[in-house]
């Protein structure tokens, strides 16, 4: 297990290096440079050039890359060229909303999707199955922002039940914290709900046809016991895989959700940085997101052993 973990971690190193190179290259295809942005309307080219030199943007690319990557390795992700705050501080300020949305979205989606998928599989071919699967494909196809705006319209503007926007940190009380999370989580969660429900159904169908389930039935075990003890346990792995696979999509969704609900998360941080060409921030955030993605998928691979005693690393 340890050896396998180390091997996987080692394999992640070249991947992260390539991510770093891709990210760095991205920054140099742009048509606007940050120096002229800061200089503003009245600046002469000479003034812009002076600002560019002060910001270190005049050095050769390779030089910039090596010095940046060296700092990253020593844990320094650089400083925003606009507000002069360390990238890690900026990320630290905003990690809580993003993590909260992501975690609650996964919990919400799994809590509803797994029973739905099981129900559909158990009633395969009947109207229950068709209804659940139809709902799933619809939820899967609806743009996140459309769902978000319709929810705001209904629950915030018409009914005034929930806040329109924003985020309240957990430290300020559980009530406001949860109230601000409901709509973002539901609007983002529908897509995952659909994805996981479909996967659960497919896996369960396969498991339910296995011999040992028939044996269990023959032994006279109740339906619930069969579902929970035998079938679901065996269906856990593909479901977990789907969740891991969905992390990338989740991150994309978070960007949109944070915009709809004006939540100060990492998604907004990235969009703002991209629009303003704040290179250190874009590079840092993409690198961190990618590292999170790699680590989460590693964790998921390792978790297989947890659900399936046949798998040993």
């Amino acid at each position: 297990m340890l050896a396998y973990t180390l091997k996987r971690l080692a394999a992640a190193v070249p991947v992260m290096l390539i991510v770093a190179i891709i990210t760095f290259m991205l920054m140099h295809i742009g048509s606007v440079d940050p120096a002229s942005r800061i200089a503003g309307e009245l600046a002469t080219p000479e003034e812009v050039e002076k600002i560019r030199i002060a910001m270190g943007l005049d050095r050769p690319l390779l030089h910039q890359f090596v010095s940046w990557f060296g700092q990253v390795l020593s844990g320094d992700f650089g400083t925003s060229i606009l507000n002069r705050m360390p990238v890690l501080d900026l990320v630290g300020q905003r990690i809580e909303p993003t993590l909260s949305i992501a975690l609650f979205t996964i919990v919400f989606a799994v809590a509803l999707a797994v029973p739905m998928g099981v129900l559909a599989a158990w009633n395969a071919g009947t109207w229950v199955d068709h209804l659940i699967m139809a709902l799933a494909v619809i939820a899967f196809s609806m743009p996140v922002f459309l769902v978000g705006y319709l929810l705001i319209y209904q629950f915030s503007i018409e009914l005034r039940l929930l806040p329109v926007q924003g985020y309240k940190p957990l430290a300020g009380g559980v009530g406001p914290y949860l109230r601000h999370l409901v709509l973002p989580v539901v609007s983002l969660g529908l897509v995952f709900l659909a994805l996981i429900a479909r996967m659960t159904r497919a896996t369960m169908l396969e498991v339910l046809n296995q011999d040992y389930i028939r044996t269990a039935r023959a032994k006279g075990l109740g339906n619930t016991r069969i579902l929970v003890l035998h079938a679901l346990k065996n269906a856990a792995n593909p479901i977990v895989t789907t969740i891991g696979f969905g992390i990338a999509a989740l991150i994309g969704g978070v960007v949109v959700t944070e915009t709809v609900f004006a939540i100060p998360g990492i998604g907004r941080l990235t969009i703002d940085a991209v629009i303003r060409r704040d290179f250190p921030v874009i590079q840092g955030v993409i690198l961190l997101f990618s590292a999170a993605y790699v680590l989460i998928n590693l964790a998921i691979d390792l978790s297989y052993a947890l659900f399936d005693p046949r798998i040993r690393y």
Partner: protein, 298 residues
């Protein structure tokens, strides 16, 4: 299937061709209702967009400040936006770009992914390098990569398509590579090699045809995702520049007046949702037909 039918039942063809075709069609619809529903919706939407110059009641970009933010009425079925433009006309015209983006992204992703996947599947050295790059590309969240690509260049149809293609490529490459690796070991490939068939002929004759079915399924999902992706880019303010109407940009424009004029967001949103839905339905149906392992479960 059609071929077997005509061969085995020549008499039926001569007696009642129309009836037979109809019956077959009806049977197909019964067996694959999702494809039928999906195809119906998609055909309607594509037809609307294709015939935009004929059926759109107004010029989609013609402004009319006196008629601003009017709710749906007989004159403007979907109402008007903040510039007095007819939302129905903008939705009909907007479909053109959204659909073209979806289709182009699907074609390019599959084409480029197929080429890279074949190389990776056949060359050990290239494989090692290419797959590391693909892993890295997979690790970068697709929407962020696309946002960065569009925002840092100048937004145009080409850059939007490019930005949406790049994050899709690694998934196609992985699929193709996995298929090639398993096909390589199949007896018919060994047999072809044994009789001295040239390498590229094996590739063209034996390997590529076998990858087509899963790729078609993949392409439909990419197409659906790209249509959504274009909308997300426009929504986040890095999509195609404004007067151009795409569903995404009509929604992005409409959300500013959302609290007052819900129709400006709702109608393009529904068109977008139904298009993605129809393509997903077709994709699901195709997978059931083309992937025997999955269809057996039905």
């Amino acid at each position: 299937m059609a071929v077997t039918d005509t061969v085995s039942l020549p008499a039926a063809r001569s007696t009642a061709p129309t009836k037979g075709r109809l019956a077959r069609f009806a049977r197909f619809v019964r067996r694959h209702p999702n494809i039928a529903i999906g195809a119906l919706i998609l055909t309607l939407i594509v037809a609307c967009s294709a015939l935009a110059p004929l059926i759109a009641p107004y010029d989609p970009d013609a402004i009319n400040p006196a008629e601003r933010l009017k709710p749906p009425s007989a004159a403007h079925l979907f109402g008007t936006d903040a510039f007095g433009r007819d939302v129905l006309s903008r939705v009909i015209w907007g479909g053109r770009i959204s659909l073209v983006v979806g289709l182009t992204v699907a074609l390019f992703s599959v084409g480029i992914g197929l080429a890279i996947g074949l190389v990776a599947g056949f060359s050990r050295i290239a494989d090692a390098v290419l797959m590391r790059v693909m892993d890295a590309m997979m690790a970068i969240p697709g929407i962020l990569l696309a946002i960065a690509l569009v925002a840092l260049t100048t937004a145009s149809i080409e850059t939007v398509v490019f930005a949406l293609v790049i994050p899709e490529i690694p998934r196609v490459v992985r699929l193709v590579r996995a298929m090639v690796l398993s096909l390589r070991e199949q007896p018919f490939v060994d047999a072809a090699r044994a009789v001295g068939t040239r390498f590229h002929m094996i590739l063209i004759r034996h390997i590529m045809p076998n990858t087509v079915a899963p790729l078609i399924v993949q392409a439909t999902f990419i197409c659906a995702f790209a249509i959504l992706g274009e909308a997300y880019l426009s929504f986040l303010g890095v999509g195609l520049p404004p007067p151009t109407s795409t569903w995404g940009s009509v929604i992005a424009e409409g959300r500013k007046v959302f609290g007052l004029a819900v129709w400006v967001v709702l109608f393009p949103g529904l068109f977008l949702g139904f298009t993605v839905l129809s393509i997903n339905l077709i994709g699901d149906g195709l997978r059931d037909i083309l992937d025997p392992k999955l269809s057996r479960r039905q």
